[in-house]
């Protein structure tokens, strides 16, 4: 076979070959993390006249995007937590700046603003060029974050902000080519984590949940001690059996209980506390219903009890795995349910019942979320929940079935996307 023919055959065979990219979303996040902020800001169409400009310039015109107004709403709705979050973000960004300036070449700072100008990079030192690009990306991201926090009045609140700015202006003379690649990769990873954290904004969830299975029980009615006393204590068989430790039930007396699974509807907010962790809290309404039927000599007495609780959950979520739009996470936490209303309907007569004490519970679950669009996803969380005995005399599902499996399904609105 001639060389040309061999070459052509091999070329034709593999010219359009495509290989699968493992975790393409993760790779995109890493790429995005290394892009200057003008490239990663939320999209915004430029005015029509700009699109006709054949000599467009990145990034100054087309990718200059103002902040999303969602941030303002987020801060408004969760001022305290938001403040902590932003402070954390600000500190993280400043750490990146400090880490950067400790290793950056002296020429870096002066060129930082012209990140895109390829011609400014010396061709003879590609390694230096790449390193500088990466380090600039870190600086830009860090500056970006710092600017963001400044927009909401955080920048000046930090006592170390001016110190950090000074440190940025005083780069160390360590040459970039001496920075081991491992450090570069670690920094890349930090950038990715930082970007993922920034990307993970507050999410609101609307959900419903219930337990698995109702609880039905039938109990006999114990003979009272007064009634027992009417029997001859030494000769009567009933009394003998009582003495030997047996319980004695009344004939034709019975109590049947049916405890329905709790049904909850809730609204919660998710606040990211690291790239993988988030804290969730909100408000949840739970309805608990029980049917109690007492039978005494064929006389049937029905009572329907309904308890209404308002609960405050607090859970920590850990993102386990992410693949395209699918997210798998684990969560664990606790909840306090306050009984706000307790009603009983006994044979058609409605009465108020004594309210139950605060019901504490802990839960653990695994969740799967699928985002139809970046702003909206559906999720399902099967889990296990344990209700602690609150010491009250009220009989309900929580007392009779303290540990149960439950399923929560809902919609999650991702703000800031």
């Amino acid at each position: 076979m001639k060389q040309e023919e061999w070459t052509k055959q091999l070329h034709d065979r593999l010219a359009d070959y495509e290989a699968p990219v493992p975790h393409p979303d993760n790779l995109w996040a890493k790429i995005e993390a290394r892009l200057p902020k003008e490239f990663v800001a939320p999209k915004k169409k430029v005015p029509p006249h700009s699109s006709n400009d054949s000599s467009f310039h990145f990034p100054h015109s087309t990718f200059h995007i103002p902040r999303s107004s969602w941030a303002v709403a987020a801060v408004f709705t969760g001022a305290i937590v938001g403040t902590v979050l932003l402070w954390h973000s600000d500190q993280e960004a400043k750490t990146a700046v400090v880490a950067l300036t400790e290793t950056a070449p002296a020429s870096m700072e002066s060129e930082r603003s012209d990140y895109f100008e390829k011609s400014e990079y010396p061709e003879e030192s590609e390694h230096t060029e790449t390193t500088q690009k990466k380090m600039r990306a870190i600086t830009l991201i860090a500056r970006d974050t710092s600017m963001e926090s400044g927009e909401i009045g955080m920048k000046d609140c930090s006592p170390t902000s001016s110190l950090n700015e000074d440190r940025v202006r005083e780069p160390s003379p360590i040459p970039a080519e001496k920075i081991p690649e491992k450090i570069i990769r670690e920094l890349d990873q930090k950038i990715v984590e930082h970007k993922l954290l920034r990307r993970r904004h507050i999410a609101l969830s609307l959900y419903a949940s219930n337990g698995f299975g109702n609880m039905t029980s039938r109990n006999g009615v114990l003979m009272s001690p007064q009634m027992l006393a009417n029997y001859d204590y030494y000769t009567n068989d009933v009394a003998n059996r009582t003495r030997s430790g047996e319980v004695v039930y009344l004939a034709n007396h019975e109590e049947r209980q049916k405890y329905y699974q709790p049904i909850s509807i809730g609204l919660s907010a998710n606040l990211p506390i690291s790239s993988n962790l988030s804290l969730s809290s909100g408000v949840v309404y739970t309805r608990l219903h029980s049917d109690i039927t007492s039978i005494a000599n064929w006389f049937v007495y029905d009572r329907k009890q309904t308890f209404h609780y308002v609960g405050i959950p607090l859970t920590v979520q850990y993102c386990v795995w992410q693949w395209y739009r699918l997210h798998v996470y684990a969560s664990a936490g606790g909840q306090a349910d306050i009984n706000v209303k307790a009603r009983q309907n006994a044979d058609g007569v409605e009465t108020d019942l004594e309210k139950d004490r605060v019901q504490w519970s802990v839960n653990a679950s695994m969740g799967v979320q699928y985002n139809f669009i970046p702003q909206l996803g559906i999720y399902a969380e099967p889990g296990i929940k344990h209700y602690f005995d609150n010491g009250s005399q009220i009989r309900n599902y929580f007392k009779h079935h303290p540990t149960n499996f439950n399923l929560q399904v809902g919609l999650r609105l991702n703000l800031n996307n």
């Binding site: 070459t7 091999l10 070329h11 490239f39 390694h127 990769r185």
Partner: protein, 187 residues
Amino acid sequence: MQETERQLTEAIRAGDWEALQRLYERFSRYAMGIALRYVSERDNALDVVQDSFVSILTSIGSFEYRGEGSLKSWVSKIVANQAIYWVKRHELLSFTELPSEETASEKEDEVEDTPFEKVPLDVLNKMIGRLPARYRIIVNLHVFEELPHREIARQLGIKEKTSVSQFSRARRKLAEMIKEYLNSQRI
């Protein structure tokens, strides 16, 4: 219907941020295929793809649209350059010139038929990625980047005849690998 390269390029130039991601989604597998021909380890190939796309996205402004396929070709060149850069940094790339190479090129022009079509694409791609670095670079540049040996020699700082002889050896080595593979499949 798939967005044309012209539409994609214009969307990027119009400031459509999502178009950057569409470009990545469209060409990342293609880029990975190229990277694996230069760098056989998947993690290293991913590094190459990552570096390539940072370069592609930040310099897309300098891309000149010259018809359908020109964007893909431009992407391929950037990935190839990044991959060569990676190999130069991480592997021993030595083009030792032997005296016999002066005449080797002409003698080795003809080789026995290589049944490329019998080898799955991913295996064939991987085989190229596992050639010794000096063969690998020249095969990629000559076969896929379609550079003449003179240009390859200029880029790598070697003699043109060295490029030709290394290419001939690469062909033989690849033919051996394919033969071994096909034999192993018959067992």
